[in-house]
Symmetry: C2
Subunit: 149 residues, 2 copies
């Protein structure tokens, strides 16, 4: 299931991995909504189907954007956590939201408008850094161990 790349263009190569309906939505849910278990994702607002979720989590792990982990006291529930490579997607997500905010309201007027959106308007880079910091702090307080399967 390794992704194959169309060419050597860095733009196109990023889209060979990220260019689909779900990959970045899953990353968003982890980064912003704090989702980390299979169940968390199935209960999302976007309602991803379990077979798609399963395949996408596999792909994300294969390319190194997330790692599959467990809490020491729970042998059933898997934890899916962003790696550095995954956290590095934050600026992309912020730019996507910024574009929606500025250019998608005519087509889709009910896009949410909140404090986060204000922060993005004020300083995108700072907002991205804050998100990454928040996630790293969460990681530090989450006890988990890596599994190799």
């Amino acid at each position: 299931m390794r992704p194959d790349f169309r060419c050597d263009c860095p733009f196109t190569s990023a889209l060979d991995i990220l260019g689909d309906k779900w990959i970045l939505v899953i990353v968003k849910q982890m980064l912003i909504e704090g989702k980390e278990t299979f169940k968390d994702f199935t209960e999302s607002e976007e309602a991803i189907a379990t077979n798609i979720l399963s395949s996408k989590l596999k792909l994300l792990e294969e390319v190194g954007i997330i790692i599959k982990t467990k809490r020491p006291d729970n042998k059933k529930t898997n934890l899916y956590l962003l790696t550095d490579k995954g956290l590095a997607l934050t600026p992309i997500l912020v730019e996507l939201a910024s574009w929606s905010d500025g250019h998608l309201r005519d087509l889709h007027p009910t896009i949410v408008q909140g404090a986060a959106m204000e922060a993005i308007r004020h300083d995108k880079a700072a907002f991205a850094r804050a998100l990454e910091k928040q996630y790293r702090e969460k990681l530090a307080t989450t006890s988990h161990k890596h599994t190799s399967g």
Copy 2:
């Protein structure tokens, strides 16, 4: 063919439009490689199929990312040009390239490394602004008229 939106999340809504293998590749080809005619796109390194190209150009026009135009002296060849909404995607493309540069070389070692990549490493925002400016200057010197079909 209007896109429908999964929910009111600005991240997800952007991906409802942009989350696919081709849309942002086409925008990249227009912005960076200067492609503007149907033929230009078919001759690209990425080799998009004509039926897909046709449907994606239609979608891009419908959502207002590009406009379909002709040169006054040529009744056959259509020109596809980025609107302001389309040009506003530049920071997203720059972030995608930056991520590829920093995190995709282990999976795909032959990603190109050139002057543009150096510029992105040095100052992403400045590079995005330069790209937009370059495209706007090109637009100013390209004679064209809008067609309503």
